[in-house]
């Protein structure tokens, strides 16, 4: 399978989402882009959401990979970081206000080299940046990182995700594969058929039938208000474990969250809920473009790449599975398609 195809099969923004910090997002993005470059493809827009300011992996101590940009790529970064970058950019846009990491800029790469990406701090600003990069001619915008509680992917309708995982300490191949599959399953929950209740705020819960909704604070809910589960429950904010327990106690049968990043609880709890007859649905169901795993995730966080990739490919087919550094080829099902 050509990894470059992961970038050319769509024009929608692609968020590369890590299961944790330093999961291997940038390494994955670099690998896919390198493959694309080998096929003569350039002109991608590159940005990130937020900036953690760390230059090394806190687990392995490895230098965190910077992004290499190539002529014609569009990059969102800041003036301060540009000053020390190897790449040279012709700046097409500069923001009026400077942030912690300097003044935000969008530039077109004139000379290849490494550069550190910096993203805007808010969802709205990130949305503007994606739009701006598209208007400035980015072939496709790739977002390194984020899509989490602070940057819910539902704020970017139509976006695709690439999910990146790293084994946990002492985890077996089977356990790792099961964990990855559970997270991927969250992205494949059914999409709710009606639009988000208008005006639903983060701390509220909407009860309704898909057409009409009433808004409540979670503490105000009682069994009568949920009408023995007849009404659907759309959460304005994340679904946490205590909230799930409360909703189950009240007899709620259908829970809708804006997107998978709003499920802030162990994924096996979602499975257990489903087994007990709960229906979890998504306001926006992003398409999973690929799953990447970094099998050599540290001294006690490593797994045999070939076996791990094979196992995951069997479970996740037809989603392509890759390890950015493994010599084992990326795998996908015999059908060869992405979901």
């Amino acid at each position: 399978m050509s990894l470059a195809r992961l970038l050319t099969n769509s024009e929608r923004p692609l968020f590369v989402v890590g299961s944790e910090k330093n999961a291997g997002k940038t390494a994955t993005l670099n690998r896919i882009r390198a493959e694309a470059r080998l096929e003569g493809l350039s002109g991608f827009g590159l940005c990130t959401a937020g900036w953690d300011g760390e230059s090394s992996d806190h687990l392995t101590g490895d230098q965190k990979p910077k992004v290499t940009v190539f002529p014609n790529d569009l990059v969102l970064t800041t003036g301060d970081l540009l000053a020390t970058a190897q790449a040279r950019l012709e700046l097409l846009w500069a923001g009026s206000l400077s942030g912690q990491a300097g003044r935000p800029v969008i530039g077109r790469c004139i000379r290849a080299g490494e550069v550190e990406l910096v993203g805007p701090p808010t969802v709205a600003e990130l949305g503007e940046a994606l739009d701006r990069m598209t208007r400035l001619g980015a072939r496709r915008v790739l977002v390194d990182g984020a899509a989490d509680r602070k940057t819910p992917i539902s704020a970017f309708p139509g976006a695709e995700v690439g999910l990146v995982f790293r084994p946990e300490t002492g985890e077996s191949v089977d356990d790792f594969a099961r964990r990855v599959a559970q997270v991927v399953m969250l992205y494949q929950l059914p999409q709710y058929e009606s639009p988000r209740p208008s005006g639903l705020r983060g701390e509220q819960v909407a009860l309704g039938d898909g057409k009409t909704w009433t808004f409540h604070m979670p503490v105000d809910l009682d069994e009568e208000s949920v009408q023995n589960g007849k009404l659907h429950t759309w959460l304005g904010g994340p679904l946490t474990l205590p909230l799930l327990d409360d909703l189950q106690d009240l007899g709620v049968k259908t829970i809708i969250v804006d997107d998978p990043s709003r499920l802030v609880l162990p994924s096996n709890r979602v499975n257990r809920g489903i087994e007990k007859g709960l229906s979890f649905q998504l306001g926006m169901r992003p398409s999973v473009s690929f799953v990447a795993v970094r099998c050599d995730g540290g001294k006690r966080r490593s797994l045999p790449p070939r076996e791990t990739l094979k196992k995951l490919s069997d479970i996740l087919a037809p989603i392509p599975v890759l390890d950015p550094w493994s010599v084992a080829p990326p795998l996908e099902s015999a059908s060869g398609g992405t979901p």
Partner: protein, 538 residues
């Protein structure tokens, strides 16, 4: 001119719906939106400026009406133009030059767009791009910034050397990678290669290849990276030194440009302010057009006069229309400095006061006003006192009212417009009435314009004008009583909201009991109240 928050306090702004109106007023530039926080108001002494401003608004309206392509291009350019007010306080690098380039490009485009509108062009008098940047930021038609090689021979030389070193380094690296990829079947695009320990043969070969280094190993796998050749190391070292040299040359060039551009800071700031004025003017024109508004006529500043023909409080009108009601514009012809407004409960006294005040505020902000005709003078402030509770904790309704009334009365000698909504309502009726009369007396001799809504009888006289709301439509109420109208008919269908002049000494009409009945109070309770009223009168 004075700032809006010096002209109008927060309570008055909320009472009149000014904040709501400005929330929908839409300058498009970043600096224009920021300016919304510090809007300026025309005050006494600014009459000539306001008339000149109206003339420019008319030009902007003509632009929207007859040349909307230019108008939309201007709005687009203004939307994209960055703020530059904070750039002077920071150290500069490529990003700051890009910001100024972006500003200068749009400034240049705007200057070109308005060249065919001589009035706007001469009003703004935008300077040429070369005056702003002295040619330092490249061609005025360019919106992008890059320190091009032709800025200096040294820069061109070092960049040429960088390009060569990069080319050879990349070539060398690719050759190594390609050889390893071909020899061992490794993916060429991977930065490093992770190999299963089970892949013993490959591991053995890679470990023995001098072109490969072991970067890391775990219990399951080994990670290899291509070993840089000596030539590659030399090239990288050379590249690193050249990049350092490039940064030094760039820094020196940037410093020279910065020094020269900073000399023109005042000019850049002045041009930025001009563009904010243009943005505000276009936004005001757009808003005025939406309102189908007219320029207010300014009367002699020494004569207190307020004439409103078909004046519309737009937020109220929209709310009424959204509720399916029929909006009645305000007609008010006031030639004396103090007027009282009486009438039925829920008959529209408050809205009449709000409309007069709102029209005055937006006129002094420089908007055209939604009316058929609006004649007024400029006031130093607009201030309202209503019966809403005071903001201090523990104050009763009356306490809050007195607090606001005291503040309002302190302005009466300053030529302000003062709006007092039912003074004395929250206390004993006799004392409330006496208090209201006393307030009216104190206002009568002031240079301010005062409008007072009240239910009290027998006020006025001595040059105080008296208006009343027309009140209940008797014929409609009669039909309602006979059951010929839907019992749930909204009150506004039974009410006539016109403001009518009253002859001196006429009785105040309240209709409180009738209104209470129409609003659904139990008939028995209303009837009992009527009996009590009759017996008291008897």
């Amino acid at each position: 001119m004075k700032f809006l928050d010096e002209f109008l306090d927060k309570d008055t702004s909320a009472y009149l719906g000014v904040a709501q109106t400005l929330g929908r007023f839409s300058p498009v530039s970043e600096a224009g939106k920021r300016q919304l926080r510090r809007l300026e108001v025309f005050v006494p002494g600014d009459e000539a400026e306001l008339i000149e401003h109206h003339r420019r608004l008319k030009i902007a309206l003509d632009l929207i009406e007859f040349n909307d392509e230019v108008y939309h291009r201007l709005r687009h350019l203004l939307r994209e133009i960055p703020r530059i007010d904070e750039v002077w306080e920071q150290p500069w690098g490529q990003a700051e030059f890009a910001l100024l380039t972006s500003f200068r490009y749009r400034h240049h485009q705007i200057r070109r767009e308005i060249a065919n509108t001589p009035e706007l062009s001469s009003w703004l008098d935008l300077v040429a791009a070369s005056e702003l940047d002295q040619g330092l930021l490249g061609e005025p038609e360019g919106s992008r910034f890059y320190l091009a090689d032709n800025r200096s021979q040294d820069l061109a030389d070092v960049r040429r050397q960088i390009a060569e070193a990069q080319y050879w380094a990349e070539n060398e690296e690719n050759e190594i990678r390609l050889r390893l990829a071909k020899t061992y079947g490794l993916p060429q695009g991977a930065e490093q290669w992770v190999v299963d320990r089970e892949d013993g043969e490959l591991v053995r070969k890679l470990l023995s290849d001098t072109a490969v280094v072991l970067a890391a190993e775990t219990v399951s796998s080994l990670r290899f990276a291509p070993k840089p050749s000596e030539r590659l190391m030399d090239l990288r070292a050379r590249l690193s030194a050249l990049l350092q040299r490039e940064r030094q040359i760039e820094a020196s060039l940037y410093q020279g440009m910065e020094d020269r551009l900073r000399e023109k800071e005042t000019l850049w700031d002045a041009e930025a302010k001009k563009l904010v004025r243009l943005d505000m003017l276009l936004a005001m024109a757009e808003q005025s057009r939406t309102w189908k508004a007219v320029a207010p006529i300014l009367s002699d500043p020494n004569v207190t006069l307020l004439e409103v023909e078909e004046g519309r409080h737009e937020p109220v009108r929209e709310a009424v229309m959204a509720g399916g009601g029929e909006y009645v514009p305000l007609e008010l012809h006031l030639a004396s400095p103090v007027a009282i407004l009486t009438g039925t409960n829920m008959g529209g006294k408050t809205v009449a006061l709000q409309t007069a005040g709102w029209l005055q505020v937006i006129a002094q902000l420089g908007f055209l006003v939604p009316a058929k005709r609006f004649t007024t003078r400029l006031y130093s402030q607009v201030n309202a006192s209503s019966t809403q509770p005071g903001r201090l904790g523990g104050l009763s309704e009356f306490g809050g009212e007195v607090e606001r009334l005291a503040r309002l009365l302190s302005l009466r000698h300053q030529g302000a417009m003062l709006l007092i909504d039912e003074p004395g309502r929250a206390t004993h009726v006799k004392e409330g009435r006496a208090l209201t009369q006393s307030v009216l007396d104190s206002l009568a001799s002031s240079p301010s314009l005062s409008l007072v809504a009240t239910h009290f009888d027998g006020l006025g006289g001595g040059g105080i004008a008296h208006f009343r709301m027309a009140g209940l439509k008797r014929d409609q109420v009669a039909l309602w009583e006979k059951g010929r109208l839907d019992r749930r008919s909204p009150l506004h269908r039974l009410m006539d909201y016109r403001v009518l002049p009253v002859q001196e000494g006429a009785k105040v009409q309240s209709d409180a009991l009738q209104v209470a009945e129409l609003l659904g109070l139990e008939t028995a309770v209303v009837e009992r109240a009527r009996e009590l009223l009759k017996s008291k009168r008897g």
